[in-house]
């Protein structure tokens, strides 16, 4: 239809337009006007998601599977509101940590680990390469159709030097190198590239809408017409979801595309690295789904129209978009549609290649080079150049590899199937990333093993079958399984074959991946560096404002060394600029310093991270820094400090209030302590005073006894006094110690089930003689009923004895003892007919040494501690003791609780 020359000149004309847009945008940015800094541009760049697969493939898919093609767009639309949580966090982390790619992101999260970064890079390369190659296929096929040559694979069979696709690939490589590797800083936005991609997004949308309108309204008579014609053909099963397996299919495809929109290297590049402002997300959250809706509106009419119109099978469904303008001789429309497809393909190729080349240079080349000390020393002044050239070379190699893959394999597959296989590869990053930003425990080994296992399953279940189709692997593997083990059939693992081929692979790879990640993380110990990164990632919104200050790093760097390192990558001028910026932000002076402080080292490391990736930056910085191993405790301490500082303001307020309350409490405590102290002093002085009395007697009589001629009668009497006073003293000591034990709570009761009647009788027996000597009447009134109480027998005896002995000292003529049991208590009272206790002294009668202190009353015989101890004993038994007077009778009465459950007497 068209001559090669026309098509080629249009193609290269379009490429030239891209160059112009990119060049113009970069110049404009240099003059301070950044066109890309607009939310709509951001949303459009995200539309790099729609590739040749969307442009040609959706129609093809719809023609065979009906509505199912929509899942790839429903997923991202559904997940868009969640960007506010996930994407915003990833963006913030990446900006703060100067992340340059998705491999860098994962490596950085798990302790800036080189291995992990390398593995992710390799997975991306292997996963994305086929995807890139089908873009070339898309372009080549459309080129061929436009030429009007009928046989689909004739182009692929040409030697490469005659193949236009080869030259297109070279052109794209050139564009990508020019606008993708201008700046050594991988984190720096590629203004020209971004604007070109945004333009491509608009271009492919317009082209698709135009052809859609053409098919729907010019070829047919509107949507209704298309659909009724399809129904007439008996193809109406394509309008609805089909059966049980179809529902699960929709689910898995949506899940898959949700992950793809976040983690595909080109999406990460556009959505995260090229993002200039987090707020742009707000707009993208609705504008991007809207874009997806628009570009899908005409998919069904074109697909169904194609099915109706091209019944002979003269065109593959994947090419219906282009087939219509050609069939209806709309030459200019055909060119437009071709260029639309070209833009969809090139957008993907350019962005993916930039992202991949950054990963290759930062996560493969650099770490490999830096491992070699010799190399590092020899070429350290040219590392910057090496880096940028490695990136340019990898762009060229990736595009050529994609071209080669297209020539060898991709020609045999549809656009969508290869794209989906790539999606599944990329989905393997989901556990490590999502886990990494929300779960601090997520560990490096878990991520690594998860990704590797997921990738292996991906390869076995999804890639191996394509190799069978391409003829590299015998077909028996699919039907008989590996080693003839049927449960190992790649498309029906464990005999599970209900799902589609893609869903099946996704299900097994992702499940294994996630489970391994979780389990290994739970059981593994993070290193301090890893934990540090984990905390920063998960709590990014807490740390992002004060990251330099919250340095988790100990050690010193020689400042000139650090500067040399920066010069190697940045050049003299930019290094000075960067340090200027540091000085300005930190308010620190550098001129008089020989050693760089941790803050500056940290700043430098992040600066380098933006250029060579975090893992390589860590290696480079470590080479000039005398780093001390930092312990987990220290890391935690530092992190806590930062956190504490933040909440300090708030706390200060509450603290001052608490302080006030605390000081009041302290004051009252102090007062009570002082009172306690005073009481203790008084107690001690009283005790010593009480001790002096018997000592005085003992000493006086002892001295008298030393005198020679003492009548025997006197001698015996005095010795008797000495013995009495000695007993008195030891009694006092015993009681003081008793009281002290009760006061301090160290006294233990030896509780036994006891019949109180028996106990009382034992006590009174010993007192009968005393009462008789003093000529006192003693009356006992003990209850009839038998109860059992749980008491310390010796202690309760002591109480009763004390009360009886007190009564005997004061009674005029009689002493009475009564015991009676109520429902809950046993009451024991000891009464006498003495003159009683003066009213005003009653409250103090149970105080220790009350008698001793009260000098106006008749000094009783005894220590003055008996009642105090009795009170303590009763209280220790949960009972009460009190004194009362009625009708000239003074009664001391105490209660002991009777246990609810019956006690058994243990003999």
């Amino acid at each position: 239809m068209f001559s090669n020359t026309v098509i080629i000149s249009f193609t290269f004309g379009y490429l030239a337009l891209l160059f112009a847009i990119a060049w113009f945008s970069e110049r404009s940015a240099k003059n301070g006007r950044r066109l890309s800094n607009h939310p709509a541009i951001y949303a459009l760049t995200l539309a790099v998601y729609c590739t040749a697969w969307t442009y040609y493939g959706s129609v093809g898919r719809a023609a065979t599977n009906g509505l199912e093609f929509l899942t790839i767009y429903i997923g991202p639309s559904l997940v868009a509101p969640l960007w506010w949580i996930v994407m915003r966090k990833i963006i913030r982390i990446s900006k703060v940590q100067r992340i340059s790619s998705i491999a860098d992101f994962i490596s950085s999260r798990y302790g800036k680990n080189v291995t992990l970064g390398g593995v992710v890079t390799v997975v991306c390369l292997l996963g994305i390469l086929p995807y890139t190659s089908i873009q070339i296929k898309g372009v080549a096929t459309s080129f061929q159709i436009l030429q009007g040559s009928g046989v689909a694979d004739s182009l692929a069979n040409l030697p490469f030097y005659q193949d236009t696709a080869f030259y297109l690939a070279l052109g794209l490589a050139l564009f990508t190198i020019l606008f993708g590797t201008r700046n050594i800083e991988a984190t720096a936005q590629h203004e020209g590239m971004v604007m070109a991609v945004a333009f491509e997004s608009i271009f492919k949308l317009i082209a698709f809408l135009v052809v859609g309108v053409f098919v729907t309204y010019f070829v047919f008579d509107g949507f209704t017409d298309v659909f009724s014609k399809v129904a007439e053909e008996g193809l109406d099963h394509l309008f609805v979801m089909q059966g049980q397996s179809s529902a699960s299919e929709w689910f898995w495809m949506s899940v898959l595309s949700m992950m793809a929109i976040l983690f595909l290297p080109r999406q990460f590049q556009m959505g995260v690295i090229e993002n200039t402002n987090e707020k742009h997300l707000d707009t993208a959250m609705w504008l991007f789904p809207l874009y997806l809706l628009l570009i899908n509106i005409f998919v069904l009419p074109i697909a169904f129209g194609g099915l109706v119109h091209f019944t002979s099978g003269s065109f593959e469904a994947d090419t219906f978009v282009l087939a219509f303008p050609i069939a209806f001789n709309q030459e200019w429309l055909a060119i437009l549609v071709y260029l639309g497809g070209f833009s969809a393909a090139t957008g993907m190729i350019i962005v993916s290649t930039i992202a991949l080349s950054t990963m290759v240079s930062n996560n493969l080349v650099m770490p490999l080079l830096l491992v070699n000390d010799q190399f590092q020393k020899r070429y350290q002044h040219r590392l910057g150049q090496i880096l940028i050239w490695s990136r340019r070379l990898s762009i060229l190699l990736i595009i050529l590899a994609a071209y080669l893959y297209y020539k060898q394999i991709a020609g045999q597959f549809t656009l969508v199937s290869i794209g989906l296989i790539s999606f599944v590869a990329i989905a393997q990053f989901a556990p490590a990333i999502i886990g990494g930003i929300f779960w601090k425990k997520g560990a490096r080994v878990g991520a690594l093993v998860g990704i590797l296992a997921g990738f292996a399953v991906w390869f076995y279940t999804l890639v191996v079958p394509t190799m069978v189709t391409a003829g590299y692997v015998p077909e028996s593997l699919l039907t008989e399984g590996l080693f003839g083990l049927r449960f190992l059939r790649p498309q029906a693992l464990l005999g599970f074959s209900d799902m589609s081929y893609i869903s099946h692979g996704l299900f097994y790879s992702l499940t294994l991946n996630a489970v391994l990640y979780l389990i290994i993380s739970v059981f593994s110990q993070q290193t301090s560096k890893e934990h540090n990164q984990a905390v920063i990632f998960v709590d990014i919104f807490k740390y992002s404002t004060s990251l330099d200050a919250s340095v988790i790093w100990k050690g010193q760097a020689y400042l000139p060394d650090l500067k040399t390192l920066l010069v190697n990558f940045l050049g003299e001028e930019k290094m000075e600029e960067a340090l200027e910026e540091f000085k300005l932000n930190s308010g620190k002076k550098l001129d008089d310093k020989i050693y760089a402080d941790p803050e500056l080292v940290n700043f430098s490391e992040r600066l380098l991270s933006g250029i060579i990736g975090s893992a390589s930056a860590r290696i480079m910085v470590a080479s000039v820094v005398k780093e001390e191993e930092i312990s987990m405790e220290e890391v935690m301490g530092i992190l806590q400090e930062t956190q504490e500082l933040k909440s300090l303001n708030h706390q200060l307020e509450t603290n001052s209030e608490e302080l006030k309350i605390a000081s009041e409490k302290l004051q009252s405590l102090n007062e009570s302590l002082q009172l306690n102290d005073m009481l203790k002093d008084e107690f001690i002085s009283t005790v010593t005073h009480e001790m002096r009395t018997p000592i005085t007697s003992i000493r006086a009589f002892s001295e008298i006894l030393m005198d020679e001629d003492l009548p025997d009668e006197d001698r015996a009497r005095f010795l008797e006094i000495i013995i009495q006073e000695t007993k008195r003293m030891s009694r006092l000591i015993d009681q003081v110690l008793d009281l002290e034990r009760f006061d301090s709570g160290r006294q233990k009761l030896n509780l036994e089930a006891t019949n109180p009647k028996t106990l009382i009788l034992e006590v009174t027996e010993s007192m009968e003689q005393v009462f008789k000597e003093k000529n006192l009447l003693f009356e006992k009134d003990l209850m009839r009923s038998e109860v059992l109480i749980s008491i310390d027998q010796d202690r309760i005896k002591q109480v009763i004895l004390n009360l009886l002995s007190n009564a005997s000292k004061f009674a005029k003529s009689k002493v009475m003892l009564r015991a009676e049991a109520s429902k809950d208590n046993l009451m024991i009272s000891v009464c006498d007919d003495g003159k009683g206790i003066p009213e005003e002294e009653v409250p103090y009668i149970f105080d220790k040494f009350f008698q001793a202190k009260n000098q106006t009353s008749k000094k009783p015989l005894g220590s003055g501690l008996g009642l105090a101890i009795s009170k303590k004993i009763v209280e220790y038994h949960q009972g009460k003791i009190e004194v009362g007077r009625k009708n000239g009778i003074t009664c001391f009465e105490f209660s002991l609780p009777i246990p609810k459950e019956k006690l058994k007497l243990i003999k």
Binding site: T696, R699, A700, I704, D714, K859
Partner: protein, 118 residues
């Protein structure tokens, strides 16, 4: 023969002091509390009173005060277990001639009392 009044509420201490001073040739009066002491003082006019402080009814301080008010020539010797500096000062400020603390050495006590009287 000197007349001495011994005041103490502890019967055994009283007994020992009585024995001691009788043996030294004193005429000894005894009282078990301040009230009893005041009666003996006005009745028997001893030259010296050996006085405990902590006693029922009327304490030693009161007795001392009374003596120094009404019977200036009677010597007062406190003999007490209260040994704090402030108690000593209080006793001496009331005009006591000596302040001795319990427990005491018999010979020492007798010597001091004799010195005071000579």
């Amino acid at each position: 023969m000197y007349k001495i009044l011994i005041v103490d509420d502890e019967p055994n201490i009283l007994l020992s002091l009585e024995y001691l001073f009788k043996k030294e040739g004193f005429k000894v009066f005894i009282a078990r509390d301040g009230e009893e002491a005041l009666g003996i003082i006005s009745e028997d006019e001893p030259e010296l009173v050996l006085l405990d402080i902590m006693m029922p009814k009327v304490d030693g301080y009161e007795v001392c005060k009374h003596i120094k008010d009404q019977h200036k020539n009677i010597k007062v010797v406190f003999l007490t277990a209260k040994s704090k500096q402030q108690d000593v000062e209080k006793g001496l400020n009331l005009g006591a001639d000596l302040y001795l603390t319990k427990p005491f050495g018999n010979k020492d006590l007798v010597t001091r009392v004799k010195n005071l009287l000579n």
